[in-house]
């Protein structure tokens, strides 16, 4: 047998069929992984079978494989979206509908969604005639299916066939969509609500006004809050479609109602979509309108209403307020300078005093928007206490978050203000008892130097940092080294050689081994910034001395430094990576805090 294989003399068999045969058989293997593997190579199988057999044999078989595991079905649904050429091109693309139809009714949402996605994809490959003959009946079947899984899938298909069918069929589609919007099961109403915006976009304006608005109004006052909150989302796209004069009468009442909803989830959604919605409305909307909504809503949230103090402590409002804080700043660009000062500024100030640190943080993190409109100076008097308080917050994560905003704040407030008010804070963080804070403070210094320049560093930062080298606490002495590592590049050769290097070298005699080996590490890091003369005459002797240290670690790192004279950009890059990582981590953190708080 082996001979034969090598000889390749397949007189009565075809070797090239063997791998395909295996793939086909493994479509039914007991091992899910093998089945999955076969499904992922479905195009290979189809190619080997040819278009005819793919249509008449493979697809009917696949149509009935819906018993399989979710991951297999998911892969199948995805494959079928790219199968048009394998069944013979656009004129046969409708052959793909039966298997996708059965996949669109399975209970697993991810599979259904993928089947719908593939159906949407292949709908584009249908000719207008095929679309009416094959695709549209499928949509109708799904829309009037017995089970809600099929009806939810139908919701996602209306918008792709609507623009390409005749006006009678269009009327039918609109009718089907209307029916689904008032379906008995909340699952279907939710699916319809989430596709409402998308469907509105393909509809003629008259129908948007006559059909969509009434559906939107109905869904936005659905008995289930899970439906109502999805309707709010549709508001954004509907608003963009309507002419200015209709917005007030058609959209605003519903939006106002949603802003006052009894359910915190719906209010939360409005808060979340607030800025987005108003950006789409801004061109048309008169300020009165926005203001009235804002007032109703904010009073509802007890932000303008000092009476309901006790509600401020309830957890709900914290979610909503926090979300509000993050979007309210975005409003300032829309409202303009005068309105911002008159209406929003009091709110910012109120929120800066909020007891919940997330709310304050969200305001501060979005300061740049306000800065553009009214200039940050307007805020600075109120801002400062808020920043100081956050900077000293008992939760280190809050402190960490505010540190991350320091460079941004510094840029906006200017050197003068910074030196006067914030510099001490930045220095205080260097001796925080949490390492993560000290580390972030070090990065912060580097960014500040990048912003304000080496000269500023030399005058304000470097003396203080170097002063810490004499601190009795060895952790603080190490912080000096970490700062030097971070700052040397930004400060440049001159400052590094003249001011930093002597301190580092002096610290090589520190009694704490951790400090000494960090000296070795620092020397390795700042090496590239130094000139070769300093390296030879000053750095090398010290490293050699450290290499004979009694402590094992010190020895090790000193030798590393000596041998690794090529320590160049790699380390710097690593450091930058670390900074980027920490930023990403922070964004994630704010996000999590927002969502889950």
């Amino acid at each position: 047998r082996q001979l034969r294989r090598n000889g390749g003399g397949g007189a009565d068999g075809d070797d090239s069929l063997y791998p395909i045969a295996v793939l086909i058989d493994e479509l039914r293997n007991e091992d899910v992984q093998l089945r999955l593997n076969s499904i992922k190579k479905l195009s290979t199988i189809a190619l080997a079978l040819g278009v005819e057999r793919t249509r008449t044999e493979l697809l009917p078989f696949l149509t009935d494989t819906i018993y399989d595991e979710d991951e297999v079905l998911l892969a199948l649904a995805e494959q079928l979206g790219n199968f048009t050429m394998l069944v013979g091109g656009p004129e046969y693309v409708h052959c793909l509908l039966p298997p996708l139809e059965s996949l669109a009714t399975v209970e697993e949402t991810v599979v259904r969604d993928k089947a719908v996605e593939s159906l949407r994809k292949i709908s584009q490959e249908h000719s207008p005639v095929d679309l009416e003959v094959h695709f549209e009946p499928l949509v109708k079947r799904l829309a009037s299916g017995d089970w809600f899984t099929s009806r939810t899938s139908a919701c996602g298909l209306f918008s792709v066939c609507y623009p390409r069918v005749s006006s009678t069929v269009k009327a039918e589609i609109r009718q089907h969509f209307r029916t689904l919007c008032s379906d008995d099961t909340p699952m279907v109403r939710r699916a319809a609500a989430s596709k409402l915006g998308e469907f509105a976009k393909v509809l003629e304006l008259d129908y948007v006004k006559s059909d969509i608005i009434s559906l939107f109004t109905a869904l936005a006052s659905d008995e289930q809050d899970s439906v109502r909150l999805l309707a709010v989302e549709a508001c954004v796209s509907i608003a963009t479609l309507l002419p200015q004069e209709d917005l007030e009468s058609l959209v605003m009442p519903t939006l106002r109602q949603a802003a006052e909803d009894k359910s915190w989830r719906v209010r939360y959604m409005v808060a979340d979509k607030f800025s987005e919605t108003f950006v789409s409305l801004q061109m048309y909307l008169c300020f009165n309108c926005i203001h009235s909504v804002l007032t109703i809503w904010l009073s509802d949230l007890c932000l303008l209403c000092p009476v309901s103090e006790q509600e401020l402590v309830s957890d709900t409002n914290q979610h909503v307020k926090s979300a509000l804080a993050s979007v309210i700043m975005g409003l300032s660009t829309i409202l303009g300078k005068d309105n911002t000062i008159e209406h929003l500024l009091p709110l910012f100030l109120a929120q800066l005093k909020d007891e919940c640190p997330e709310v304050r943080l969200n305001i501060i993190s979005n300061l740049d928007c306000v800065n553009e409109v009214i200039g940050i100076r307007q805020l600075s008097q109120s801002l400062l206490p808020a920043i100081v308080e956050l900077a000293e917050d008992a939760k280190w994560r809050v402190r960490l978050a505010i540190i991350e905003y320091m460079p941004l704040l510094a840029g906006q407030l200017g050197v003068e203000f910074f030196d006067e008010k914030l510099n001490t804070l930045c220095m205080a963080w260097l001796i925080d008892h949490v390492y993560a804070i000290r580390e972030a403070a070090t990065c912060n210094l580097m960014k500040l130097v990048e912003k304000f320049g080496a000269e500023w560093a030399q005058n304000t930062i470097v003396p203080k940092v170097l002063g810490m080298a004499n601190d009795p606490n060895y952790l603080h002495r190490m912080t000096t080294l970490f700062c030097i590592n971070a700052l040397s590049e930004a400060c440049g050769q001159d400052i590094t050689t003249k001011q930093m290097l002597p301190v580092v070298l002096k610290m090589s005699n520190d009694q704490v081994a951790n400090v000494r080996f960090n000296v070795a590490k620092s020397l390795q890091k700042i090496g590239p910034v130094l000139d070769s003369n300093a390296l030879q005459t000053e750095v090398k002797p010290v490293l050699e001395k450290l290499a004979t240290d009694t402590d094992m670690d010190v020895k090790y790192f000193a030798q590393e430094a000596i041998s690794g004279k090529h320590f160049t950009l790699i380390n710097v890059n690593k450091l930058k990576m670390a900074i980027i990582k920490s930023e990403m981590h922070f964004n994630l953190l704010v996000f999590t805090v927002l969502v889950l708080a």
Partner: protein, 447 residues
């Protein structure tokens, strides 16, 4: 004697009994929960052995028109296995505490089953086709010479005998420190709640690694613990409303719209205690063992040890109806305390039109109350009356000094035979009654 159901007089008659007849009952075979699905075509039972048995309603046969459709076994599967929590040195029983059906979403059926700690979502689906034809094997399974393959064969689907498969779709674990007593599917069809002694969690049916704690009554100091959660249920129509009952005989209604945490209730249902009947057992017997919303969502029913109460959701200070289940036991509480029976958790259920309610008692008796006529009836689930189409005779327990004919004295009641779990078909007058290891199904016989 007339039966109890929305005015129409009829009699209950025996239909079927499931389970072994043996006198000594294996612990694992004891039925621990009974539940019809939304259409009433399927009936699920769970037992102490962790098994779920599903019965399907067979269509009426044409040649025997006097026989209404029967329920036959559709699928049986092991839902939970005994486990051991090594961290806490705690055995976790496999006993199924509750089964709840999900609204049907496609051709398959889904149910949630739970033991003390873990909730599982099961899919019960049918398969009637089988793929045939391999490339590398003959029909009889012999391997073919892989180098003699001259053409490719695509498997073909052939009809086969109907096969019912039960497959675990999701496992919702590690969210309960105490024993789960209730699960309830929300009317939004995407979430459900699960309650243990001190906490209630809200789950999304598609997400297993996360649940939201919506009620937590655990005191900071466990020595201050005075009450526990005994049951919880979602409102059948309003997705934001749920209730939970406590061991102190009170019910709290919470609105999830108000806040993400529902530690503060929006309504508090409590009947003031009658000081004249106060005794050592008052608190124990007032503990609520089950709470069920009516199908309409207007009322809820609670079961305590001696009575069933119907509450109007709009009236918090007292129930609108109170039915005595076995008032004659009030004088026996002492001995019921000694044999632990006083802690039995009786469940209760509504009929499809909310006009009648049913709950269990001892001696394999179960009780029905007609809410319109205020008539009540005691029936017995027993092998003796289990002849096909036999009419159930009402039973009476003698309460006075003199026992009449056909009456049973309180002292001769068998307290080991208790009916804790019953279920009423959502549309028809078909009831399922779990008596230890037997499941009785009774139907109406219209006169």
């Amino acid at each position: 004697m007339a039966g109890v159901a929305g005015g129409n007089d009829f009699q209950w008659c025996f239909s079927q009994v499931k389970g072994a007849i043996d006198e000594d009952v294996a612990e694992a075979d004891i039925i621990s929960t009974v539940e019809f699905n939304y259409s009433g075509d399927l009936l699920a039972t769970g037992d102490k052995g962790g098994r779920v048995v599903i019965f399907q309603h067979e269509q009426e046969s044409k040649n025997r028109p006097q026989l209404r459709g029967e329920y036959n076994v559709y699928s049986t599967f092991q839902s939970h296995e005994p486990e051991f929590d090594y961290l806490k040195s705690l055995e976790i029983e496999e006993k199924i505490n509750k089964i709840r059906w999900l609204p049907q979403q496609n051709a398959a059926h889904f149910l949630l089953s739970t033991n003390d700690k873990t909730i599982k979502l099961w899919k019960i689906s049918e398969r009637d086709k089988r793929a045939e034809g391999y490339n590398l094997k003959d029909e009889d399974g012999r391997l073919r010479d892989p180098f003699r393959i001259t053409s490719l064969r695509v498997p073909v689907l052939m009809p086969m005998d109907l096969m019912v498969e039960a497959s675990p779709r999701r496992i919702f674990a590690n969210a309960h420190t105490y024993h789960i007593n209730s699960i309830s599917v929300n009317s939004d069809h995407e979430t459900y709640l699960s309650a243990d002694d001190l906490r209630i969690n809200l789950w999304h049916l598609e997400i297993t690694d996360r649940s939201f704690n919506i009620v937590d009554i655990k005191p900071a100091n466990m020595e201050e613990l005075t009450e526990v959660i005994t049951a919880a249920e979602c409102h059948p129509l309003q997705c934001n409303v749920f209730v939970y009952s406590s061991s102190k005989g009170t019910i709290r209604l919470c609105d999830m719209r108000a806040a993400a945490l529902c530690d503060r209730h929006s309504k508090f249902f409590e009947e003031p205690e009658d000081p004249s009947s106060r005794s050592f057992f008052s608190e124990i017997i007032s503990s609520i063992s089950d709470v069920k919303f009516s199908h309409s969502g207007r009322y809820m029913m609670t079961r305590d040890y001696l009575s069933v109460k119907v509450w109007d959701l709009n009236m918090e200070n007292r129930p609108v109806e109170t039915y005595q289940v076995h008032e004659y036991l009030r004088s026996k509480l002492c001995s019921l305390y000694e044999n632990d029976c006083i802690f039995d958790k009786f469940e209760c259920c509504w009929n499809g039109s909310d006009s009648a309610i049913m709950t269990g008692s001892y001696n394999n008796f179960f009780r029905m109350f007609d809410r319109n006529t205020r008539r009540d009836i005691t029936l017995e689930a027993s092998r003796e009356s289990s002849k096909p189409r036999a009419t159930l005779k009402p039973r009476k327990v003698s309460t006075g000094g003199k026992r009449k004919k056909d009456e049973i004295s309180v002292d001769s009641l068998d307290f080991n035979k208790k009916i804790l779990h019953t279920a009423w078909h959502p549309k028809d007058n078909v009831i399922a009654v779990a008596a230890t290891n037997n499941l009785y199904i009774f139907q109406d016989k219209i006169n």
